[in-house]
Symmetry: C2
Subunit: 201 residues, 2 copies
């Protein structure tokens, strides 16, 4: 019984690693619920932080990356995203992802939002950035990825977020958060006015 | 070789169920990447849809539910949320969750947003609703849950979303989407003006 640990109001009586690959670890915990009843809690731990980037040009354009998502078995257009190792700087991971997927680098980076992606089953965290003052270079996607990349008006991305055509959580979150922060005057003036113009009603 | 299947540009050579509990199923797929290289893809399939509800009173109040989240090992204040079986009506699941956690029922329901929660590893989908025209009853949380429930101004929730104090993805998404839809005139006038007042800069 000395191996019992606490996780908030839960007692964890034992834990068993049931699956591991380079991206996740699935652990099954034998627990006592807060009310004392027996149970189990399966947790999916992520080895990466989800990183998202909203790059914006002076002309109010951004980039969408299209790919077939294996888990949902559907094609999805999204802002540049990727995984950053938990111990790496999220900002450095964001810079790398943007460069690899679009060939773009940026002078200015602002953290837009961080959140728990799916907190009933996973410990996955997301950190998202706004990037502006852009320079164009050469993209270098990972060879195992098959990506379509296109430069599009942020206005069109906002429209597709609001209609539901874009269904990726990080993309929706970044666009809505950028719009809300711009309206609240929480972003630098030049980029703020571009976002307000692109996301106005 | 006849057992090979396709998932978009991936070839799935074999699949193995590695973990299952009442909420998730973890399947390890032996695949060929889009570029033809060998690999594996571990997918976490969800048996439930994530359901979220943003209830709003005529005085601009909503409800927050506080609980220790086992996977992230931290306490989290969130709008009413829960799981709805994939084959059940999301709206009926939302009505049940709101009633169980807060004791509230609502005359008016509007779908706010639906999205893929974490699409690199899971197939989890979320569907979120706005609820107004509220009637108060008796809450009946599941006995295994230890929930704190409080009625709070939506204005305060919006503030905590913008500062990052609230970190739950569904809660952030619902508040930002309600604000954006209200500003765009996509919600009925009475509830729209309450939301605009609570989420103005």
């Amino acid at each position: 019984m000395s191996e019992e640990t606490k996780n908030g109001p839960w007692v964890v009586r034992s834990s068993r690693l049931t699956f591991e690959n380079p991206w996740i670890r699935v652990t099954d915990h034998d627990v006592l619920h807060p009310d004392g009843s027996d149970g189990e809690y399966g947790v999916v731990s992520f080895k990466n932080i989800a990183i998202g980037v909203l790059p914006i040009t002076e002309r109010g354009e951004t980039w969408l990356v299209g790919q077939h998502r294996f888990p949902s078995e559907k094609y999805s257009w999204e802002l540049p995203e990727g995984g950053g190792l938990v111990d790496d700087s999220p900002l450095e991971s964001a810079k790398r992802e943007l460069r690899e997927e679009t060939g773009v680098s940026a002078e200015n980076w602002i953290e837009l939002t961080r959140f728990d992606v799916s907190n009933s089953v996973t410990d996955e965290r997301a950190i998202c950035f706004l990037a502006y003052g852009l320079h164009h270079g050469q993209s270098a996607p990972e060879p195992s990825e098959l990506l379509d990349v296109k430069k599009v008006p942020l206005k069109d991305v906002y429209h597709n977020v609001m209609t539901g055509e874009i269904s990726d959580s990080l993309t929706i979150m970044m666009v809505l958060m950028a719009s809300a922060k711009a309206l609240r005057g929480e972003l630098p003036a030049p980029i703020s006015s571009i976002i307000i113009e692109a996301t106005k009603a």
